[in-house]
């Protein structure tokens, strides 16, 4: 560092240097994430980052193009709405005239034909606007010829107002887009300016570079120039539209980024430290929400126009020249391309200069300012940190830090609202029944959790060192957060359910059951979602979340929601159980990763076989079996149901067992260590090696199999006396008798194939992994319930009992063989 430059860099050179640093930082961040991914997966990972960038760019492009369509559409809709007002007056006149006619019938002629045609035309548009189904909406371009409506509007009236509002929405979206939500929330505490100003650089250059930084970081700015381009193109033609992209769009985009940054600077310098986060959070949220609003309303333009026009109609008489000025409209109503370009680029230059100047001035007034020491309220909080001190800490955060509201409520609810929009076809039928409303409530709650979970550690910031000094600190912290998130989502869903109960008082019972189910489901969903938590690097950059894990958090959600939507209780229950099991599997993996949160270079995948391995193998068996059965039936024809079933399940079971064994062998797990269980505390003399112990273990298996088989038979016999299910069972029996081959093949499969594959997967892999995660009776019951779930709902009870008994048998005898034997005998007795 001895060679010092002869003179300090000039203004533009400083801007260039700083922007170069921003670009390098973004590039370095991407490279580091790629390297870490490769390191973790030992070089076998595939990089989907490019695809994610592509999707982000498509969405933001859609938002910008949508803003143009929205503005255009709002003007047209404004025209039609004004026309309707005219029409209403016309109708009023007509009515009066008709009245007059009736009064003075013989003396008055009929109204002229011309008026009648025009009135019909208006009525048609008015009807289209009034209809609420999106399919019936007039398509873009609107039915009225757009040019006269769009072009010849003077600077007042409904259409000018609506068009200006569309323009405003786009400006807010761009201005408050910032550098992306994650980055901004962190950056509020780490302004680099103080450091930068210790260098001999012009403050204006620092701020200009800072203001241009969002352009490099947020893809919403890449496509922003398209918006003016499209609007200009619709007036002046395509060549001028293209020109406008460069001459109007680019300067305005830069100006919007600058203005947003200037607002951020103002907040940083003028607001108290505790309010900064909240203010910047609300600003970012406004930007994000207006982007969503643009996307949503650009496909529902007429509804948006109708919604806006009703309350804002009185304001339409004010002058609304903004859209006209933006497009270069002259006072006489004609349009001039040059005037438009000059107005917009002049405005952009003014905003950029003004924003830079404002920032510089604010800096001169005192960068460090506003560090006001805030005393907490005199009413001192008698902190009784009892059962869960961390939960209390989170509640205090929620109460005192105003940015909590943005992070915990506004952002997740916006995301949930977005999901609702995606599901709008479902929403149209919400009022059709209580179950639709409940299903939508469940989806909103889930989406809320999926948004909030990955951000769990953001509010910790640099204070995260403190939990690291506590025993189990980080884990307890995340568990506490998961509980808080689960509560919050239960409140959200509870509100929806209360509404449902209000609308459908007769269905209070089932709605309460859904609520009860959601209480359990929310805990598992929150547990899953916090495993996506990342820490933010000291530079303020958030860590990346793998998309595989993001998908895994969603497991069970749809099953639960569809179960509620279609009133299939067993399906809803399956969803809850599946979600709970996934939560356990994800936490097992997460616990292995957790110590490496600050040391990603040392991170390795947890030792196999994990719960997740077992779940994936089981899913492969079930899904693979179903697909193979379908394929075999398609090839062999429906006449061969029996052999197809046998063949498909046999092949799937063999393939999954062999592939799983191969997968485990390649990761250093020998088969013997799956089939024998020697490393456990729940020892029994049976588990020792030796022929006598082996014989006794197998005998125990036979005993359990015979006993449970008899219980199963008794259960079936009891079912035959239940009026609700007896006809169903009789029908199944009759079907079986008609097809003896099916019965034989089922028996072969259930006795000779299934026990091996299922015991290997459900007991050898799943139960043992679950025992390490939950331990004791919870693991036994959990694995039994999970096993039962893969069988028809009628047989859940005896099959669940078999699952629990076999888990115990495996653990006590230390031999999977005894569980296999018990399973074979049970199946033989019940099906034989």
């Amino acid at each position: 560092m001895s060679d010092r430059p002869a003179s300090a860099p000039g203004f533009w050179r400083s801007v260039g240097l700083l922007l170069g640093a921003v670009r390098r930082r973004a590039r370095g961040r991407r490279r580091r994430q790629r390297e870490l991914l490769q390191q973790r997966a030992a070089g076998k990972a595939r990089n989907w980052g490019g695809l994610a960038v592509l999707i982000t760019i498509s969405i933001t492009t859609y938002a910008n193009v949508g803003a143009a369509l929205l503005t255009h559409g709002l003007v047209a809709a404004g025209d039609r709405l004004s026309a309707r007002l005219v029409l209403q007056q016309l109708q009023l006149q007509n009515n009066l005239q008709n009245q007059a006619q009736q009064d003075l019938l013989p003396r008055q002629a009929a109204p002229p034909l011309n008026d009648q045609v025009m009135a019909d035309d208006f009525r048609r548009f008015a009807d289209q606007i009034d209809r609420s189904e999106p399919g019936a909406m007039p398509a873009f371009p609107p039915v009225l010829p757009p040019d006269p409506g769009f072009v010849a509007r003077p600077g007042a009236g409904l259409s000018a107002m609506l068009g200006s509002l569309g323009l405003l929405l786009w400006s807010v979206m761009l201005t408050l887009g910032g550098e992306g939500l994650d980055l901004d929330v962190q950056r509020r505490r780490h302004p680099m300016w103080e450091w930068l100003f210790s260098h001999p650089v012009p403050p204006g250059a620092v701020f200009l570079a800072e203001m241009l930084a969002p352009l490099a970081a947020n893809p919403v700015y890449y496509s922003a120039p398209l918006m003016p381009g499209i609007l200009y193109g619709s007036i002046y033609g395509a060549p001028q539209g293209l020109l406008a992209v460069g001459l109007v769009g680019v300067p305005l985009t830069i100006a919007a980024a600058c203005l947003g940054k200037a607002l951020e600077v103002a907040v940083m310098l003028r607001a108290a430290p505790r309010s900064r986060g909240a203010l910047i959070g609300i600003m970012s949220w406004l930007g994000y929400a207006s982007m969503l609003l643009v996307i949503v309303s650009s496909v529902n333009i007429d509804q948006a126009a109708a919604l806006l026009a009703r309350p804002l109609a009185p304001l339409a008489s004010l002058p609304w020249p903004w859209l006209g000025l933006f497009l270069g409209q002259q006072p006489d109503g004609s349009f001039s391309f040059v005037a438009g370009v000059l107005t917009c680029s002049g405005l952009a230059a003014l905003v950029i200069a003004g924003a830079t100047g404002l920032s510089v001035r604010a800096t001169r007034a005192g960068l460090a300012g506003a560090a006001v020491a805030l005393a907490p309220s005199r009413r001192r909080l008698r902190a009784r940190l009892g059962a869960n001190p961390l939960l209390r800490k989170e509640l205090l955060w929620f109460r005192r830090d105003r940015s909590a509201l943005v992070q915990v409520v506004l952002v997740p609810l916006t995301a949930a609202g977005m999901q609702l929009f995606n599901l709008r076809s479902v929403l149209h039928q919400v009022t059709g029944g209580w179950n639709w409303l409940c299903g939508v409530g469940v989806l909103v709650g889930t989406c809320f959790l999926a948004t909030i979970g990955p951000k769990s550690l953001h509010s910790e910031g640099s204070a995260l060192w403190l939990p690291l000094t506590w025993p189990h600190g980080l884990e307890s912290l995340l568990r506490a957060k998961a509980r808080l998130w689960a509560w919050l989502s239960c409140i959200v869903v509870g509100l929806v359910l209360c509404w449902a109960a209000f609308l459908f008082p007769a269905a209070v019972g089932p709605i309460a059951l859904v609520g009860l189910g959601y209480l359990v489901f929310a805990r598992s969903m929150a547990d899953k979602a916090v495993t996506l938590a990342t820490v933010t690097a000291s530079s303020g950059e958030p860590g990346a979340v793998s998309s595989n894990r993001q998908w895994a958090t969603q497991l069970g959600t749809l099953t639960f929601a569809i179960g509620v939507l279609t009133e299939q209780w067993q399906l809803a229950l399956v969803g809850i159980v599946y979600s709970t099991m996934t939560a356990a599997a994800m936490w097992q993996n997460f616990r292995a990763r957790l110590p490496f949160l600050y040391d990603p270079w040392s991170e390795r995948l947890p030792a196999p076989p994990t719960l997740m391995h077992a779940m994936i193998a089981i899913s492969c068996l079930v899904e693979g079996g179903a697909v193979l059965t379908g394929a075999t039936l398609a090839i062999a024809g429906r006449g061969h149901v029996a052999s197809a079933y046998l063949f498909a399940y046999g092949v799937a079971a063999a393939a999954v067992a062999l592939l799983t064994a191969r997968f485990l062998r390649r990761r250093g797990v020998r088969q013997a260590s799956v089939w024998r269980w020697t490393d456990r505390a729940w020892a029994s003399p049976l588990a020792r090696p030796g022929p006598r112990q082996l014989m006794l273990s197998l005998l125990a298996g036979v005993g359990v199999g015979v006993a449970l088989g008899l219980v199963g038979l008794a259960y079936l016999a009891a079912l035959r006396h239940l009026p609700a299910v007896a006809p169903l069972l009789r029908h199944a029996d009759a079907q079986m008798k008609l097809m003896p081959a099916l019965h034989r093949s089922l028996l072969v499969m259930a006795v000779l194939i299934a026990p091996f594959a299922e015991e290997f997967l459900f007991r050898g892999l799943l139960y043992r992994a679950l025992d390490g995660e939950w331990g004791g009776w919870r693991a036994v019951l959990g694995s039994g319930v999970f096993f039962a779930m893969y069988h028809p709902a009628l047989s859940w009870l005896p099959v669940g009992a078999l699952g629990c008994a076999n888990a115990l048998l495996f653990k006590r005898s230390g031999r999977l063989a005894s569980a296999v034997l018990s399973h074979m005998i049970y199946n033989a007795i019940v099906l034989g």
């Binding site: 390191q39 902190a383 403190l466 000094t469 110590p595 040391d599 040392s602």
Partner: protein, 257 residues
């Protein structure tokens, strides 16, 4: 000084409390520590010296179980610093270079939270800390938000947090960095009293005269390697220098100068 009395009773004789053998730590292709071996007996005050970026903080984070050694083992009281990190954290008190606190908790609430998370009785712990709070002149400020504390007050609060569970090993990362003269003296008095009560103290600093005054031992790290270790007298004698500063400059000078 109830806190110190209790620590005195936990004193155990002889064995090395901290055993670091052959530790290497790399981040990607960058190596921060290389083959570090170090033993600190119980009750010793050991100063860790080294230029910026030598790997002092990395070594502390390895001892805290926040990082995992690429090679070699670290043991605290016989426990592996990474594998047994949960148990080891009960033995260790840690003060980072620049402690940051939750912006929405007061100093008292932070202390109470930390006590609860160590499984201690909150009321008793606060009572036990009361004399120390008075000595640090922190009692009056305890109900302000910890985030608004001055740098020195943050360090004091950090030291209290490190002490409240009566650790056997105290790891202090540049404890007096940014403190005024009075507070610096207070810190060193406390370190001396803790050591007398049998607490092992491992601290890093850039102030040689303080090391010479406080420590029986010093370790000098340069570029991730231990370049000198031993009691102060031995260090001075073996390098033939009059002051620790000279030894330090000689050992950490870049090659070729």
């Amino acid at each position: 000084m109830t806190i110190l009395d209790q620590q005195l009773s936990e004193r155990d004789g002889g064995a090395d409390l901290v055993q670091i053998s052959n530790v290497t730590k790399s981040f990607g292709d960058k190596t921060a520590l290389r083959g570090v071996c170090l033993r600190v007996p119980a009750g010793q005050v050991c100063g860790l010296l080294g230029p910026n970026g030598a790997g002092k903080t990395t070594l502390f984070r390895l001892l805290m179980g926040i990082l995992k050694a690429s090679e070699g083992t670290l043991r605290v009281g016989g426990l592996d610093a990474f594998e047994d990190r949960v148990a080891a954290k009960r033995l260790i008190g840690y003060l980072p270079d620049e402690p940051v606190f939750y912006s929405y908790l007061s100093g008292r609430e932070t202390l109470e939270l930390s006590a609860a998370m160590h499984g201690l009785d909150v009321g008793q712990t606060m009572q036990r800390l009361a004399p120390l709070l008075d000595r640090m002149r922190l009692a009056a400020e305890l109900d302000l938000y910890a985030e608004d504390y001055s740098r020195g007050m943050k360090k004091k609060l950090g030291l209290l947090l490190a002490l409240l569970h009566r650790p056997r090993l105290l790891i202090l990362d540049e404890p007096t960095n940014g403190l005024d003269v009075e507070a610096t003296h207070l810190f060193y008095d406390l370190i001396g009293e803790l050591a007398a009560a049998g607490v092992t103290v491992l601290f890093s600093t850039h102030l040689m005269d303080h090391v010479a005054r406080l420590c029986s031992h010093a370790v000098i790290i340069n570029a991730g390697e231990v370049v000198a270790e031993g009691s102060i007298e031995v260090l001075l004698a073996s390098h033939g220098r009059a002051s620790l500063e000279e030894v330090f400059l000689r050992l950490t000078a870049p090659a070729g100068t």
